[in-house]
């Protein structure tokens, strides 16, 4: 029997919120690859509600088994190594939901996503949130919040970034930000969402839709 191994990845997933927001970005009938798809909730949703040809990659074998046993096309694989296998432009959207901060080489993963897909949809927890900043300032210790909830020596989140950091990376890499939004801990999009500085302070999660800038 399987020994259930606690997945060493970002765990505080609220799939329903992610599912809703990401699904809204994806055109019906498109080809989608969901990297770090967990038990496949999003790909199931995209297939059932949007008629997408949605597939997944997941590093945790217990999740993969659960997904395939639910009839979902999911393969065990690693974002850092397996994306290179796919041909160019194999997908319309490549989704990386709350996984970017846990991969070895985020920049390379983004490059691969925009090589194999026309668009990338990326969500990540915002390290620039005021609570994170406040804890570091006040206590001088690594923040522990509901989102950043593992001690520094155990966290799989080895590449945290802020919303501003991500904008800067997109600029540096020549990616066009087609859409972006930030949500607070209740999952609500707030009025401050239009202003990067405020979003970076009050947004707990960020969601970006990227495309390669025309060369």
């Amino acid at each position: 029997m399987n020994v259930a191994v606690d997945p060493v990845r970002y765990v505080a997933k609220n799939m329903r919120l992610d599912l809703r927001l990401i699904a809204e970005m994806i055109a019906p009938g498109s080809r989608v690859l969901d990297i770090g798809c967990g038990d496949g909730t999003l790909i199931d949703h995209l297939f059932r509600t949007r008629g997408c040809d949605a597939r997944g990659i997941e590093i945790d074998m217990a999740e993969v088994t659960r997904a395939v046993a639910h009839g979902l096309p999911v393969m065990q694989g690693d974002a850092d190594t397996d994306l290179a296998q796919y041909p160019d432009a194999a997908f319309d959207y490549v989704v990386l939901s709350r996984t970017l901060q846990a991969v070895e080489r985020p920049r390379e993963v983004l490059r691969q996503m925009l090589r194999i897909g026309e668009r990338a949809v990326v969500s990540f927890p915002n390290f620039g949130h005021w609570r994170v900043r406040w804890q570091l300032l006040r206590q001088g210790r690594m923040p522990m919040t509901s989102v950043w909830n593992r001690p520094w020596h155990e966290t799989p989140n080895i590449h945290p970034c802020t919303i501003r950091d991500f904008f800067a990376l997109c600029e540096q890499e020549g990616y066009r930000v087609e859409r972006w939004l930030a949500v607070d801990d209740a999952g609500q999009r707030a009025p401050w969402r239009r202003f990067v500085g405020l979003a970076n302070l009050f947004g707990e999660q960020a969601l970006f839709q990227l495309r390669k800038a025309p060369s």
Partner: protein, 383 residues
């Protein structure tokens, strides 16, 4: 080890009088395919599942074996309400070309001699390949009036046939499930097969391959071949768990009788195997697996075998399988990724080794059932 010839028993079969031209260039004038079916083919013939058996398996998947009296080799997987649900699917399994359960093979009468009662092929039976086996199955499937299989499923050598099916007849395979298999035989795979073959050749009853003409059977050699192979089907953990260093009773040390339980187990595996398998078939089929190299058949690029495929794949491997380790399945999965194919890939955690695909592995069975259910939905099969 006195051993009688395999008894001649009747197997349900179909004969094709136009024969089959093999990959080696030789032609069989007559092709017989022995097969079994379970469940019912639906009106639009869309629910057929082909099960491909492994090296020493046969077509008796889900029923008592006519020779050994044992239950079918996949009785935990194929049947009403089981992962390959015969209430829903029409399941076909054929004895492979080169086999000894009724399909054309070394035990069949030669068809290249114009004489009544020709002798058997024996070791003169032409070399066959996995692709030849698949082409023989294709003939059977066409004979059954099926143009597209809902799924082709098999483990080990059966998995090689699944891969070959998907590569050769992509439009005839909606879903493919290669289990505990590889896209080619490794040097280690060939090495173990070779030791088994040499054991058969070394048996005095082998008689240069003419044993059958003298009413003899190279039973010791075939049994040793089986014992070696059987070790490769298990894992160190499984052997330790099952037998450890336990002794059979209080035998004196220094004796070469079957002192340890594991020895007794292997001897039993060897001696029961020779009662149901033909030595020349064993040679023919092991050779076919050695020759299998799907990438080489496609210019050295495995993904080229699957280019443009619309088949949905589910690769399944087992963590303690060292005969066809997970890395082999991953190689196939990545090649399928390069072809932008729809692929699921799961490694099942188990200590039971390669044989796990034949055993009670709930995660494996759930995975298989779930994958098939998902595919059935995509194929529009009625529930």
């Amino acid at each position: 080890m006195d051993q009688a010839e395999l008894p001649e028993i009747a197997h349900a079969h179909v004969a094709f009088d136009d024969g089959l031209t093999l990959e080696c260039g030789l032609a069989l004038r007559r092709l017989t395919v022995a097969y079994r079916t379970y469940g019912r083919l639906n009106a639009d013939r869309s629910n057929a599942v082909l099960v491909c058996h492994a090296l020493t398996g046969d077509q008796y998947v889900a029923e008592q074996h006519p020779l050994t009296g044992k239950p079918g080799w996949w009785e935990m997987v194929v049947g009403p309400g089981l992962p390959i649900d015969t209430d829903r699917f029409f399941v076909v399994c054929a004895n492979v070309l080169g086999g000894c359960m009724g399909s054309t093979g070394p035990r069949s009468p030669r068809d290249d001699m114009d004489q009544p009662n020709p002798p058997r092929w024996g070791t003169d039976f032409p070399p066959v390949t996995i692709r030849d086996m698949v082409r023989a199955q294709k003939r059977l499937i066409e004979h059954l009036g099926i143009t597209r299989l809902f799924a082709v499923i098999g483990g080990s050598m059966g998995g090689m046939q699944v891969l070959e099916w998907a590569a050769s007849y992509p439009d005839a395979v909606f879903a493919a499930v290669p289990i505990a298999t590889a896209a080619n035989h490794s040097a280690q795979n060939i090495a173990f097969n070779e030791v088994g073959r040499q054991a058969i050749f070394a048996d005095p009853d082998w008689l240069g391959g003419t044993y059958w003409a003298h009413g003899r059977v190279p039973a010791r050699g075939l049994a040793v071949a089986r014992m070696i192979a059987h070790i490769t089907y298990l894992s160190e953990q499984a052997l330790t768990r099952k037998f450890g260093r336990r002794l059979r009773g209080a035998q004196a040390a220094g004796s070469f009788d079957d002192t340890f339980e594991v020895e007794s187990y292997l001897r039993h595996q060897g001696s029961s195997f020779v009662r149901r398998f033909d030595a020349a078939s064993y040679l023919t089929i092991t050779r076919a697996t050695d020759w299998f190299d799907l990438a080489a058949d496609h210019g050295g690029d495995l993904s080229a075998a699957f280019r443009g495929t619309r088949t949905r794949f589910c690769l399944i491997s087992f963590s303690s399988d060292w005969l066809y380790p997970t890395a082999e399945s991953r190689t196939i999965a990545r090649a399928l990724n390069r072809a932008a194919a729809n692929v699921s890939f799961v490694e099942i955690a188990t200590d039971k080794g390669h044989d796990a695909f034949l055993l009670d592995e709930p995660d494996f069975h759930r995975t298989l059932a779930g994958f098939l259910a998902g595919c059935a939905e995509h194929a529009g099969l009625p529930a």
